[in-house]
Every structure is written in C-alpha cells, then in structure tokens.
C-alpha cells in the first residue's frame, strides 16, 4: 500500500495523539454520531433490510468463489465494448501501467475521482515522481490534498477537520495549485463549497485525462459504476478524452440485477441517503460521447492471497461504505490516521494486515485495535463478521501458521514481542486445567490481599494508571460454597 504509511508505529502509540487531542476527538465524535443516527433512520425505512444484507453477502460470496471465471468474462466484455484491460499484480505494477498510459497521451496533469484503490497503491505520489500532477476533485479529498494531509476516513477523508481549519487550508494553499480562494472567504459551508467549485471547474475543463476507481464492475456487460454525491465524478468520467479506471479485482458483480441490491444498501449505509445523488455507469467507449479511450487496470495487490484464507476472505465482500467506522468506539477515539492505512477503522483492521501481511509493527497491532464489541458486524451491509476475522488474525500473529503470500504457501512464525503474553496464557491455561492449582492461587491472593499494591507492575501498569483495581475478597466463592454447603448452612 501507499508508501506514506511505511514505518508507522503500532496502533496504541499511533492512537495516543488523537485520544489526547480534544479538537480532533470533538470533530470525530460529532461527525460519527451525526451520520450514525442518520444511517439508522435510512435503514429503518427499508422493510427488507435483513434480506438485502443477506443477498449482498451471498452475491459477493458467489462472485468471489468464481472470481476467475467472472474476471475473464469481464475482460472480454470490456474489450468487446472498446476498452483495454491491464492486469496489475501489485501496487508498483499498477502505478507503472497508469504512468505509461498517461505519458502516452503526452499530458502532465490528470483529474481524479475519489478512489480507494488509487490511494491504496499511492498513485498520486507515483505520478508526481514522473512529473504528472494529479488533482483530486472530491471536496474532502481536495481538502486533504491541499492540506498535505492524509485521509482519515473512507468516505469522509477530511472528517478530522472542522470548518475553520478548512477555510485556513483553502486560503493558504489554493493559489499553489490553481485558482486562489476568493478574498475574505468565510467558514460557512456554502462559501467553502463555492470556493472549491470555482477552483475545480478550471481543472475539469482543461484536463485531457481522467482517473477513477469503481464501486462495482458488471461482468456480463463490462460496465463500471461509480456512485458519488458531488457531481465531480460525473465530470471526470465524461469530460476528458482518456479515462483510466483502477479497480480491485474483488469489485465484480455478475449482472445488473445483482447491482440492484448494492445500489440500495450502499447509499443507506454510507451517506444515509436513499440513493446516491450521482450514479454513473460507463461501458467501454461510445462515439462522440465521453472519453474516446478507456483503460481498465485490474488490481490484485494482495487480494488473491486474502481470497486463499477461508476465514479472512470475507473481508473482500466489503463495499467500502464505512458504516463500521462510524459505529466503532475505537475509531471514534483513535481517529483514522492511527490505523496506518487508507483503510481505517474495523474494516481496515482486518483488510490491511491481510493485503499487506502482518510483518510490520502497525499491521501486527491492528487486529488488537478492537474490543470485539460487535457493533461493526451488526452494521455491515454485507455481513462481514469483523470480530471473527480479528480473532483469526490475532491467532496468526501469536501462533503463526500457514498463509498464502504472493501466491505461494508459506508458514508464518509467531510474531516477536508476544513471548511474555504467550507464557502467561500457557500458565493460565495450566492453572485452569488444574482446579486445585487455581484454588491455591485464589487463596494466596486472598490471604495477601492487604499487601496488594494499588498499581500493577509490567503490562498491568497501563490498567492501574487510569483505573482503580478491584479489592481481592477475603474468600473466593468456591471456599464459601464449600464452607457453607452451598449457603445451606447459614453461612453468609
């Protein structure tokens, strides 16, 4: 994934800053709670939500099971409609393909529709290195790009910014990239939106190359679909002469009929709307209408490896609605940046360590960035059991085991840094398997209870730093039970 995140510290350390930044926490709390409440209402309007959720899950599972077949069908349909298909095994390959395609047009700037896949591979940075400037046209992406910032939410990349901060960014940076911000810009949403509109319009009308992702690809007609709210996507998809779409291989649905399910569940789960304001579909090229040249870059980048994992593969059902982020209490406090990936929140915690492997400090810590409260699973419109995958990945980290890496079967060793925990877990298991030993330990704790310190040593210190420890009782339950014959002998 994007080089921006290489060398990130583990999640707890990365989250420390956000947790202790009251402005950021306020911004996140306000935004997630607002959209959470709206989503609940939008979902409650649909009487068959449970069935839609199940249908979405099954369509995705079916497609993933036969992905090889549907990918070939898609390639044939796209070519028959006048498009060209490229296959990219990883980020570098995808970036090279796109860079070459842009260079062939002789252009040095492109307009972009917001796309997770191009962020995942760090396309903007790769293009920049080759002298090509990529302009983000989604309002929130524009804020992030101008602010030299990183996105912190899948759907609302600038969720961590408030209006005042956005005005300052526009005033300071817009002139560096094109049309400057109007004089005396205020922080009202209407004025901020108008400033962005004027700034972006110049770019839409000038650009000869557009780059997009896609929310869905329909295999039988070779159609790509983007849903968005601002109309910038429609502009990027129709005005340029050349359109390059970079899409993860898991984004296929077999037919237009399957699409129907997701066009209901995605907008309600993501923006809490009944329909997306703009639903754009494009099939190859059409004479005199839209781009005359169309390239589709199909991106693997860890997806085949993820597909090989029986438990973890359900993460590939994800339609990037970000409902799980908005209900996650950990995301709400830690913010998106702490996840060290373009995919933050609960889905990021299972997707990133699968797409990138668990080798880095951040990736090995992500499966633990959850209390397993289950709110993410409950809200997911394609029923990804995120807690199940989190526990599965934890197991991979502490116990190691077989995985598929770049198409080859390898056996992972247990991650470093878990030795003390592993020893403690084994010791606890031993004691629990020997009730006598457990009882001895309980009695010892009871007898020495007046000597117990108020703070714990070692890893327990973090607990007692912010919470009072419960006092150890004078007598564990089992001793009371035995002493009083189960309370029958009047023992209190």
């Amino acid at each position: 994934m994007s080089g921006t995140f290489v060398g990130m510290p583990a999640f707890p350390e990365a989250a420390h800053e956000a947790v202790n930044n009251p402005t950021l926490r306020g911004n996140l709390r306000h935004a997630t709670h607002t959209i959470r409440a709206k989503r609940e209402k939008a979902v409650a309007e649909v009487s068959d939500w449970a069935q839609l959720r199940e249908a979405g899950k099954q369509i995705k599972d079916h497609t993933l099971r036969h992905l090889d077949r549907y990918l070939v069908q898609l390639e044939e349909s796209v070519m028959a409609a006048g498009g060209t298909v490229h296959w990219a095994a990883d980020a570098d390959e995808a970036n090279d393909i796109v860079t070459q395609l842009v260079k062939m047009t002789g252009e040095s700037e492109v307009v972009k529709v917001k796309s997770m896949a191009t962020q995942e591979i760090g396309l903007n940075e790769a293009l920049e290195a080759e002298g090509i400037r990529a302009y983000e046209t989604d309002l929130a992406e524009l804020i992030v790009q101008l602010g030299k910032d990183r996105p912190s939410h899948i759907l609302v990349p600038a969720i961590h910014r408030n209006r005042g901060e956005i005005r300052d960014i526009f005033e300071r940076e817009m002139s560096e990239w094109g049309r400057p911000a109007p004089e005396g810009l205020s922080d009202t949403p209407a004025e901020l939106a108008e400033a962005a509109r004027l700034h972006l319009r110049e770019k839409f009308l000038r650009a000869k190359v557009g780059i997009s992702g896609a929310n869905f690809m329909v295999a039988d007609t070779g159609t790509l679909v983007v849903v968005e709210s601002e109309g910038n996507g429609r502009m990027c998809l129709t005005l340029p002469e050349t359109l390059i779409s970079v899409v993860g291989i898991e984004k296929i649905v077999p037919t237009w009929q399957d699409l129907e399910v997701f066009l209901q569940t995605l907008p309600r789960s993501s923006t809490a709307e009944r329909m997306n304001p703009y639903t754009s579909t494009w099939t190859g090229t059409t004479d005199e209408d839209g781009p005359g040249t169309f390239h589709l870059v199909l991106l693997d980048n860890g997806r085949s490896d993820t597909l090989a994992d029986e438990v973890g593969r359900q993460a590939l059902r994800c339609i990037r609605c970000s409902a799980c982020l908005n209900v996650c209490p950990v995301y709400e406090r830690a913010g998106g940046h702490a996840y060290g990936s373009v995919y933050p929140g609960p889905i990021g915690a299972i997707l990133s360590p699968q797409l990138r492997g668990t080798g880095s400090e951040i990736d090995a810590s992500l499966p633990y960035a959850s209390t397993l409260c289950g709110a993410c699973y409950e809200v997911c419109p394609v029923a990804i059991d995120i807690p199940e995958v989190l526990v599965h990945l934890r197991e991979r980290i502490v116990q190691g085991g077989p995985v598929v890496h770049e198409g080859n079967k390898v056996v992972l060793k247990p991650a470093k840094g878990h030795a003390a925990e592993r020893a403690a877990m084994r010791a606890a298991r031993w004691a629990f398997a020997h009730p006598g030993a457990l009882r001895t330990g309980q009695r010892l704790a009871s007898r020495t209870r007046r000597l117990h310190p108020r703070t714990l040593p070692g890893p327990g210190k973090a607990w007692s730093d912010t919470r009072d420890l419960p006092p150890v009782p004078a007598e564990p339950f089992r001793d009371w039970w035995q002493r009083t014959g189960g309370g029958k002998e009047g023992g209190k």
């Binding site: 004691a431 912010t466 419960p470």
Partner: protein, 251 residues
C-alpha cells in the same frame, strides 16, 4: 430442576458476592443449584487474544464438568456468549484443520443448555418479577457480548422494571462499548480509558446511584474508572439487585 452454576473465574476470584446472589435468587425461585467444584474458566481470554489452541483444553474441561446437568447458568453475558457462540466455531475449526470431530462432539451437548442468568430467568423459568426489592435509582448498561453476542434484548430491563422500589434511568449511548474488551484494556490503555470515561460520564448524567450490568468484567473496568474519577455512582451486578429482598436487602 437441578442446574449447575457456572460462576466464571473472574466472579469466583474477585466477585464472590455475585455468586452468592445467584444462589440466593435461584433457590428462592425453587431451583436446585449445584456448583461443580472442578469448574475453572471458559477460555475466552485465551481465544479472543489469539490463543485458540490454549483455549481448546479449557473448553473440553468445561464440557467434562457440566455435560450431565439439565441447564448451566452463568451470570456473565460474555462467558455465556463464549460457550454458545464460539464453542461451536472452535469445534468447526478443529474439524476443518483435520483434527477430527472430537472437539465438536465434546462441546455439542453443553452449548444449547448454557444460559446467561437473565435469559434463564425469562426464557426457561418464565418469570420477570422475581420478587426483588431494591429501593435505589439504577441505570442499566447492556454489555456488548450480552447485547450483540447473546441477543439478550430487553430481558434484563424487564427484570429490573419489575423490581419493587427500583427506579430505572435510561443510559445515553447504552449500546456503546465501555472499553474493557479483555486484553484490549491492557494493549490499548489510552483508548480503553477514554471509552471508560465517556461511559461513566454518560452514566452520571442520568443521576442514578447505581450502574448495573450483567458482566462483572465490564463492571470492574467501569467501576475502576468511577473510582479514579471520584464518582458517586456504584457498579452493581444485576444478580445482586435481583437477589435483594426487603428482609435481606443488597446494599
């Protein structure tokens, strides 16, 4: 009816009052309660931290201890969910890994007859008024594994509403996690503490004297946070409220 009390290792060691309350309550309702002395831990902490192989012998042990009983009752939504939701999954995984169906077969008998306390009262005994008296204002926190794992729904609230003298206050953001999450509290202390603080502030805003839940591990975290924030509220397990009577009130 003869049922086994699965008290859980946390309750047994740190919260024996909860166990005594369950015995008192169930006995009052005419249930013959046994406490198999060889019980230990369901293995949830192991399983959820990634040590599934360490959890397997504990699950087997659980099955050996409890399989002969008509019903197994536990005052913990979390440990109840471990048995009901995750034991079948453990058995399936062992089978999928080519280690045979032994574990699945061993666990199968205990899974359907394990009940969380409030579930047992409402669904099995068919009571919502357990004859309790508790003259305090109470707010109820539905813990995540009880709420979403077991789907306890409004059972605990119905039981509380039937308690004489008890005034129930709605908890804002009730379905949000308190931030305990087992080893999460140790591995992500900052986020865990922030979540706990928000939970306590929400609870305080109700003006209730008592925050009640059906899981002592969540109450340990919330109560520990209350102590540090010098809150006037007290954490109390729902079993202790339901066991309370005019003759023998729980403080």
């Amino acid at each position: 009816m003869r049922v086994a009390l699965f008290l859980t290792c946390v309750n047994d060691t740190l919260y024996p009052d909860t166990g005594r309350a369950v015995v008192k309550l169930l006995t009052r309702l005419g249930v013959d309660v046994d406490f198999p002395m060889s019980q230990t831990c369901c293995g949830q902490a192991h399983y959820n931290t990634g040590y599934r192989h360490e959890a397997e012998p504990l699950a087997r042990h659980f099955s050996d201890v409890f399989r002969e009983y008509e019903a197994i009752v536990t005052p913990s939504g979390s440990c109840g969910a471990m048995v009901r939701e995750l034991y079948p999954r453990m058995g399936e995984r062992a089978r999928a890994e080519g280690r045979g169906s032994g574990l699945a077969a061993a666990l199968a008998p205990v899974v359907p007859k394990t009940f969380e306390l409030t579930e047992f009262l409402v669904d099995v005994l068919g009571v919502t008024d357990v004859g309790a008296y508790y003259p305090h204002t109470v707010t109820y926190h539905p813990t995540c594994h009880g709420l979403r794992g077991l789907g306890l729904g409004d059972r605990p609230r119905r039981l509380l509403q039937a308690v004489k003298g008890l005034e129930l206050k709605e908890l804002p953001g009730a379905d949000e996690c308190c931030g305990f999450g087992g080893t999460f509290a140790l591995k992500n202390p900052d986020v865990s503490a922030a979540m706990g603080t928000d939970k306590v502030r929400n609870a305080e805003s109700t003006g209730a004297e008592v925050l009640c839940a059906a899981d002592n591990s969540c109450l340990m975290h919330i109560g520990g946070t209350m102590g540090r924030l010098e809150s006037d509220m007290r954490p109390v397990h729902i079993a202790e409220i339901l066991a309370s009577t005019e003759e023998e009130p729980t403080p």
